[in-house]
Subunit: 288 residues, 4 copies
């Protein structure tokens, strides 16, 4: 089924050790070739294992097992460059939206996966480019969200938004979240955005604390282009991709967002249910 | 371009008279064949004009001009049965999301339209069926929204929701709005839903005053099936389609929603801009 | 400390039996005089116990123990007419905002209470009168909230609101919630209202699904007068007090709200902590 | 009525000139003693007028007329130290919540005021102190709000909140707004807070984009003490008072808020109506 498995683990989390060791035993017993990232390597006795950088690991494996939380899987997604890699997330205790396999049921689930019984799910990324004085000064990819937000200032910033070249509005706010369906249950939800089903080819624009109360989240087609222009003269703003600050922005900077051509492929156990995850994570069913 | 034009006017609104008369003069001068609904007929002197029921009118025309507000256009959309009809909405003063042509610029805009210069836009409808004891007891179409809500009771109702056969959640609330992109700027917006761009092939489920605070609007693919089951034993609920109450619901009733195969086609002047309508209707740009 | 204890139990809940029997044993052992409501009487063997109507019970006791949920305590509060009665709420499993003593720790807590170690907390009620054609046609009291909402109609209703004689606004909505601090964690919270600390002498007006997005909850002094007028010609509305529908309303009806002069007094164990209840009920601390 | 009038004008706004000149003519004609701040002085020809620092001006006048927007009045409020001063706000075009007199009706309104016909309204301020390692390292006053928010980081911060010594909750969010009634229509409203009537002796705590969806605004008594502790180890946060950043915060910093003993007194024309201002500012009555 899979020719080579890569193991990538969360940094600085002692709970990783046992799970990684258990995973290695599992792979060795089944004679499945595997590669470790440096994080995994620190928790196993030195012994001729194949340890590589994340970049090299991602390039050489066709199944990547991420041990950690959604953040670890997000980071790994940024490194992937090919659609032919599949990712599988094992959480360390708390169910994740992306890391949906518990380490306690890891062995049975992997048996299923290596027997070819699993679900595949594509998730798209946003590509963002920052254009300043007609030159691209930065670019990045996001699986969750791209956020333009005020920075080192208590003042609101002023943003002009365009979708497919059409002017949408000028807003004064703390910032604007552009989120994929994957990110709709992350920061965008805290900002008042809706949940977008992961299969949806759409993105949502969520204003953060907008000055105008009728500035509401807008869902648009993911295949279009979203452009945000910093339009306030004294604005101090920052670009954040998947929670990592990326670039300080200045007036007239244009932030141009497009769906990235190549997405990632998640692997879930057969019977995986997005809504079950949603119910658990959002405590639906818990009475007030 | 168009073989026969149908005129449909808002009921009981005296502002209709002048606009309908002006429209008839326009059509007579240009020798464009037209048909009137009974409402239009009441405001013109009796004189051998072709007056028909809305059903007959909708069946015989290939362009229908609606004079009134969005509500009048909604009502007309329910009567349409064929995709080969186009609709054009003329408002009586206040810009509508669907009736976007002002009566003051009506003549110039119609010149453009009859010269073949216009934009077409498809909008889909929701088909809803109510299944009781394995029998369909009612069905209806909605351009804006289908709402299941409590009725003659101060008690919350309990609803189980399924999307494409997957259980989503059990919620206790005042009700649930299922809205098309067209309806996302109507009642769903008041309920806290996001704005969906009209070109999006998606629907949004908006809980009304849900007991669980994390029950948030969910956007799902419009090509799937949404099913809502009245699950509370003593629930008293009602089905409302586009603001018209349709059917009293009882326990175990299943409300099944699907995208209707045939939508409607709106005609807009060249240069029509959805976001401009949004800015005007939501008072964006007005300072606090 | 207390001369006579009244026991009032939730209707139609089998979990009541054991708790009531245990409470009676407790009171008999300590030779504390007590009275039962008819609900409590059904779960104990007939044996010369003092069984009374709720009205008579409330009039003759100076401590009333409510066994059930917040709803049972709400109902009891409506019967009370004198400030000299204290209420203590025992829940049947799920922590209530008002019924904060678990039946499992009931005995120890009552030992404390009868030893004079407890906290008292006053909660105010809203008095509502409906004035039609200059005549009062109905009146009621609410501990949680008074709601004016649409009824048997899918149409929005139009409400004019006045505070202390000053016109506040005309709103089109599904209705308006006027809530005490006690009610602020009930229906008003689902409608988007804030939490009001119980000691606050304030009420909050929460519009339900208002057509105008900037119609937001307003908190005003509880010592003023709030007046709501049904102003839409074809409106069909209903008055609901603490979740019990009370009166069908028609155009020009004036709903006049004032703080009731006499409130109720809740008894809590020493160390009772409102915020701890809030954290438990709202699942604060639970990770997403 | 008033012994000496102080004039304070908005900085760097050319619309100030005409209004200030007109005001000076008005005061000279009526032989009312007055003092100018340096901003006002720049727009009048040099001529023996009494020009002072804001501090000195505030100390020597019993009526201060602020020409500008709410921001100018906020700034002036920070300078005031005595309750015996009254403030009157003249706006430069757009109605303010605090600067409610239009320059066009300024003369008539001032005639009324100097004839003793006006309304007085007290507004309280929040006093905030930052305690680090048991030492107070900063303090400030706010008329609108005190905000603790993340700073130079895309990560959420973790805040522990206490009211009157009771632990309220630990929240992960972008920050927390503590707002007076005066500030409830400013930033707190954008963050989802309720409107608090200005006469209310209450403050509202509004979480900014909280991770836990049930973290809702809480209204508490203004006479209590609110304490916020920066509890995340790697948190980078900032304190902002009335929109002016004040102090960078680090872990374990305690932000202690109390109502300031001395408030400010606003003067309004007779017939001033808070709700009329609210209706205008929030565009109530504007149809969707």
């Amino acid at each position: 089924m899979f020719n080579k498995v890569g193991l990538i683990a969360k940094k600085d989390d002692e709970r990783v050790e046992e799970t990684v060791q258990s995973l290695i035993r599992y792979l060795v017993e089944r004679r499945l070739p595997f590669v470790l990232d440096s994080e995994c390597a620190t928790v196993v006795p030195d012994g001729g294992l194949d340890v590589r950088s994340r970049e090299s690991l991602c390039a050489s494996c066709d199944l990547i097992i991420v041990i950690g939380g959604d953040g670890t899987l997000l980071n790994t997604a940024h490194t992937l460059s090919s659609k032919d890699v599949r990712m599988l997330g094992i959480n360390l205790g708390r169910l994740g939206f992306l890391t949906d396999i518990s380490r306690h049921e890891m062995t049975q689930q992997l048996d299923e996966v290596f027997a070819g019984r699993f679900q595949e799910e594509e998730r798209f990324l946003l590509h963002v480019a920052v254009v300043r004085d007609a030159r691209q000064v930065a670019s990045n990819d996001s699986l969750n969200d791209v956020v333009v937000h005020r920075w080192r200032t208590a003042r609101l910033i002023t943003l002009d938004t365009y979708v497919d070249g059409s002017f949408v509005n000028t807003q004064r706010s703390d910032g604007l979240i552009v989120s994929t369906p994957t990110g709709s249950t992350a920061y965008a939800l805290s900002g008042g955005g809706p949940i977008l089903h992961p299969a949806l080819d759409a993105i949502v624009l969520v204003p953060i604390c907008p000055h105008t109360l009728s500035n509401r989240p807008i869902v648009v087609d993911a295949d279009g282009q979203v452009e945000i222009v910093i339009s306030g003269a004294r604005d101090s703003a920052q670009l954040t991709c998947d929670g990592q600050t990326t670039l300080e922005l200045t007036m007239n900077d244009r932030i141009v967002l497009r769906k990235k051509e190549v997405g990632i492929t998640l692997i879930h156990p057969t019977g995986y249910d997005y809504y079950a995850t949603l119910r658990t994570k959002l405590h639906w069913g818990k009475e007030l």
